[in-house]
Symmetry: C2
């Protein structure tokens, strides 16, 4: 059930889920409310008056009884229970005058979901269980156990060819399993990799276990590993779990992992760590559903090229050295148990194929998930991260590239940067006159730092408020306690020490902003170079699809305002979420889609940006907020014009 | 160079190899010479006079100078150097009279070799080495290492499909191998198992190693394991080696091995032992040719069903229990190293498929070797041993069975029985009047015991001389120191203690003879039952092919005279030798022949003899020498008639 909230005096209206936090709703609506402590309820700044409707709220310690009776609440402590009309008090200037501010013209816009485009898929997984009753042997008919079994299942297997079988595990157990089960067994079969290849018996279980057929989809991210347990009979998602990639202690990005892998024992250690993380996921989802890990019949995984190499124990050394050659791009079907994964010895783990050293299986899985390779719509597919991956094309051809954006989007290279976890500032507004902040953190605790989406939010607001200029430099003319000179040059105090969880001022510095500018500049230059290479411009695109966790949380308007995304029709933007996990999940369910993955990866051609002069010139031009060429960003051009008018008036 | 030897006064003539031992030549020719010590030169009985030609001889201690000057030599110490005319002295009776004996009508006849029928095969093995030069990567062309390699070999592989590859070994090494080798490598490829299956890269070696392509053919016998090292480029046999199967300490026959395998750790121990034996062979042949075991690119093996199970570590338990069901009959292609075989980790070991619990891959390999499945000639294929295996049929159909003959042919269940090794009596003649023996041992040492072919020789001679009757009972009327009553009833002294290596009398007893009669009876009843089942008799057969080491050494005439082989035209008999090893060798050389093996095993239908009433009645009738029905053995019927006449005359 969704609720509508109208904020006065701006008349900004937003529709949110039942129970949504009121401060977060205001932030999404682009409505500024003083909020210094991230939503923790301690600064007591975010007072609003509920004019109509109901909220549930706690922590009234900052409110007088009189205020409370009048309907005043701390927005950060209020949970929306009905449609609301909320009055936001105007800021009071030092001289006691209410500071009227212009209503915001924009609010947080998320890209549209791709649900409809992903479409339906079949529940017809790459593994099948079949219950067979076998004639017990006699002197007249004493063909061997294996041949009896093959005879019993023949004519009924996937492609009507005699299946092969796993040796030695299946074969060594077979005589005992058949007799213990009184010749009634369930055969677990794996479809041939290609259409012509025979199916393969990978396990024989006593009795009828056809009701228990589970699969695991895994996205192996450099930072986070996520898994989904699927019921492969129904296609239903049973449980999900995510965990930090256990390799993270050896470096935050793929380059530092490659460097670590070159130490003695390093490769093995990295492999062990990611396997341990996968086991943690298996343990968690199996415990939740009260099933045994050995009931999982197939594991479908996707990860970037380095993660894929490390999982399989293949040395990624040459990925890092020009000309950036991975050991392979099509990864072999592997026995999960042989890697140390907690699974039945016969269970296979499949990894999505990669395209190149820096365009991995996660990207192929994403492209595959939303069927970009089957659509005639020209699509720009973007995965924003430390390594930004970009694919352009449609069903006829696709071209991809990767650009090294640096770690700013993940909170790296930013003084108070952090990953998107509890206490990270994820949303920021600035009062255009008082320059005071409205900060909202993940989980609404006191702020600990700034995550990627928060950084975009902060820089975009500072830019639009004129606190920083297009080069990302602070306007030294503004006299405000929060704008000061720090160790790294000018900085803006997002949270005073008393309002922060870490007991010190949390600031954003000019150096932080420079890093973000470089990161977004690399992404934008990547789009331009790739589009140029195929003779297209942004206007030729029918869709822009954002993937990655970042894609889901990004505020479209703000991302455009800093020049991270192109300034085109907002309706062209879609977000896919974790395309890598979704691709793995679909391939787990539907073997026909699964088999397509070869097509997908073969349709995509890689282009190297390293030493590409076109890229370098685009990049230099993009080291501006949003860009040196404002004609590319008409929305911002208009805003700057407005700002200039305001200054002048 | 062969030499012709004429023995006087019989005028028996034989052609033998240059350097052949004169006593052995006489034995083959059926010429009786006193010889009590097996050919060791100590009894001094085997004096002969060289009338024409040259011999080389040593140990003249038993000869007077006068004798020597007249050309008298010990036959056992004489090596034939030219065509000879040799006078054999007649035996002297107690009263000093020369005992004229009738010349022998038969001499040792070996079955003919099958060389012509086996035909030529191609040298086109299931593995191939290909030297490829790969374009080094550049920024313009940085496809992954594996794809570069595939691209370089594409269009040239066996079946023109993209090969698959070994994971993880090949893949993990690939980036380093390619760079260390400066992008010039040799690819070892394995042909797809079936015609449609893609070839598989199993190893990549730096530089050009195409000149080094070796294969190993192995026959895994219950008693002996034999191996042949082949140059797969030329098809040449480079080295051979045989060794006792290391499992032999746990039982002489397959049944005792199965029993041992059921002990804790027994299966693993038996697997280890046979693997150790194979390693011993690999070590020996590689040392001889100064190559590394890792240069062997393929191993092709054949063994009976129990040996095959044990090698692969598959429990043979149910093979022993009615209804005698093996775990499988088509054995999977296995990595040799995974079994513990000393080989490159990627090298595959292939086992010939079995037909049933007691008709194994050794028989299929034999049938395959001489292309029985392609000939229209009706063939009876016999492998004589503890377990006798019999196949009848031609290219249109084949039927097989196994009969448990017991260990008599291997020297088991015989008081002084032993395997065919140094000191075993392998040939025996008896003087028809003096009843003194002529014994020839393997390596012509003093006798240690009796091997299978010796036993047949002895029983046949005793029978034809009337020393034993058709029931195998001694003729108590003969008064001779060598014929006496011992612990196990009557016995014949083959060698007195002074002439034996073991320092005690070596005898053959009635119990020994009973065991042989049961063994040959089981074989003969097997032929009859199988032929009856397909509506045939012996006269319908175009060929009788003998396999096994035993087959090569068997004296055809004597085997017929005891009823082990049917009394048909001697020209129909062929011997294949070690058909199992030959089949493995051919399959190693020629992948087209290799691929046929499926056809072969599918053409052969198994028939169980256990509890078969037809078999039981044939068996009872065959417990006679040669048979209760003498019309089946006209040669012996005539000999008995002759003997009776002699007695009467």
């Amino acid at each position: 059930m969704s609720k509508t909230v109208k904020f006065l005096p701006d008349n900004a209206t937003i529709t949110v889920d039942d129970g949504e936090n009121l401060l977060a709703a205001a932030a999404k609506a682009g409505v500024y409310i003083h909020a210094f402590c991230g939503g923790d309820g301690v600064c007591g700044k975010c007072k609003v008056k509920i004019k109509e409707g109901e909220v549930l709220s706690s922590k009234a310690q900052h409110l007088k009884q009189e205020e409370y009776d009048q309907g005043v609440r701390l927005a950060c402590q209020a949970s929306i229970q009905s449609d609301l009309v909320v009055e936001v008090p105007e800021a009071i200037s030092k001289d006691g005058r209410a500071l009227k501010r212009k209503p915001k013209t924009t609010r947080a816009i998320s890209a549209r979901s791709l649900d409809a485009l992903i479409g339906k898929w079949d529940v017809s997984p790459p593994v099948e269980k079949r219950f067979v009753k076998i004639d017990p042997p006699s002197l007249e008919d004493n063909v061997p156990d294996l041949q009896r079994l093959l005879r019993a299942i023949k004519g009924g297997c996937f492609e009507c060819k005699e299946p092969t079988y796993d040796h030695p595990e299946m074969l060594q157990e077979l005589p005992f399993t058949l007799r213990e089960a009184n010749w009634e067994v369930t055969v677990l079969m794996l479809r041939g990799k290609r259409k012509r290849e025979p199916d393969r018996i990978i396990a024989v279980e006593p009795g009828d276990t056809t009701g228990r057929l589970y699969g695991l989809a895994v996205d192996i991210g450099t930072t986070t590993v996520s898994g989904i347990l699927m019921d492969l009979n129904s296609g239903e998602v049973l449980a999900e779990y995510s965990s930090y990639n256990g390799q993270i202690r050896y470096g935050e990005d793929v380059i530092s992992r490659i460097i670590y892998s070159q130490r003695p024992g390093g490769l093995k250690n990295l492999q062990d760590k990611v396997v341990h993380t996968i086991n943690e996921i298996i343990h968690s989802v199996c415990k939740k559903m009260v099933i045994s890990p050995s009931d999982i019949s197939y594991i479908m995984a996707a990860g970037n090229t380095v993660m894929s190499h490390l999982l399989l124990g293949i040395d990624p050394k040459y990925i890092r050295e020009a000309p950036y050659v991975p050991a392979c791009s099509q990864f072999p079907l592997t026995r999960a148990a042989s890697l140390g994964v907690m699974a039945h010895p016969s269970v296979r783990l499949f990894l999505y194929p990669s395209i190149a050293s820096y365009v991995g299986g996660d990207i192929v899985a994403g492209v595959h998930a939303f069927q970009m390779h089957k659509s005639s719509a020209y699509t720009l597919f973007i995965d924003i991260g430390t390594n930004g991956e970009i694919v352009v094309g449609n069903k006829d051809w696709m071209m991809c590239t990767a650009c090294s954006a640096g770690p700013a989007f993940e909170g790296g290279g930013v003084k108070f940067g952090m990953r998107a976890s509890s206490g990270a500032i994820e949303s920021f507004h600035i009062h255009p006159i008082t320059y005071d902040p409205m900060i909202v953190t993940i989980d609404r605790t006191k702020p600990r730092g700034i995550c990627g989406s928060g950084l975009i939010s902060i820089v975009s607001e500072l830019l639009e408020a004129g606190v920083i200029d297009q080069q990302g430099k602070f306007n030294a003319k503004i006299d405000h306690p929060r704008i000061r000179e720090g160790q790294d040059g000018y900085e803006y105090v997002l949270a005073w020490a008393k309002d922060s969880l870490i007991g010190e001022d949390i600031v954003i510095t000019e150096v932080d902003i420079e890093n973000l500018v470089r990161a977004k500049g690399a992404m934008y230059a990547g789009y331009q170079t790739l589009l140029n290479a195929v003779g297209m411009t942004f206007v030729d695109l029918d869709r822009i699809v954002l993937a990655g966790n970042f894609g889901a949380y990004i505020d479209l308007e703000r991302a455009i305002s800093i020049g991270l995304l192109p300034d085109v029709d907002r309706d062209k933007f879609y977000y896919l979420g974790n395309g890598s996990l979704l691709g793995a999940q679909i391939s787990l369910d539907d073997h026909k889609r699964f088999r397509e993955r070869g097509e997908v990866s073969k349709l995509i051609t890689n282009m190297e940006l390293s030493d590409n002069p076109d890229f370098m010139s685009h990049y230099m031009a993009a080291l501006f907020l949003p860009h040196t060429d404002l004609s590319l960003f008409p929305t911002m051009r208009d805003k700057f014009a407005e700002l200039a008018k305001g200054d002048g008036g």
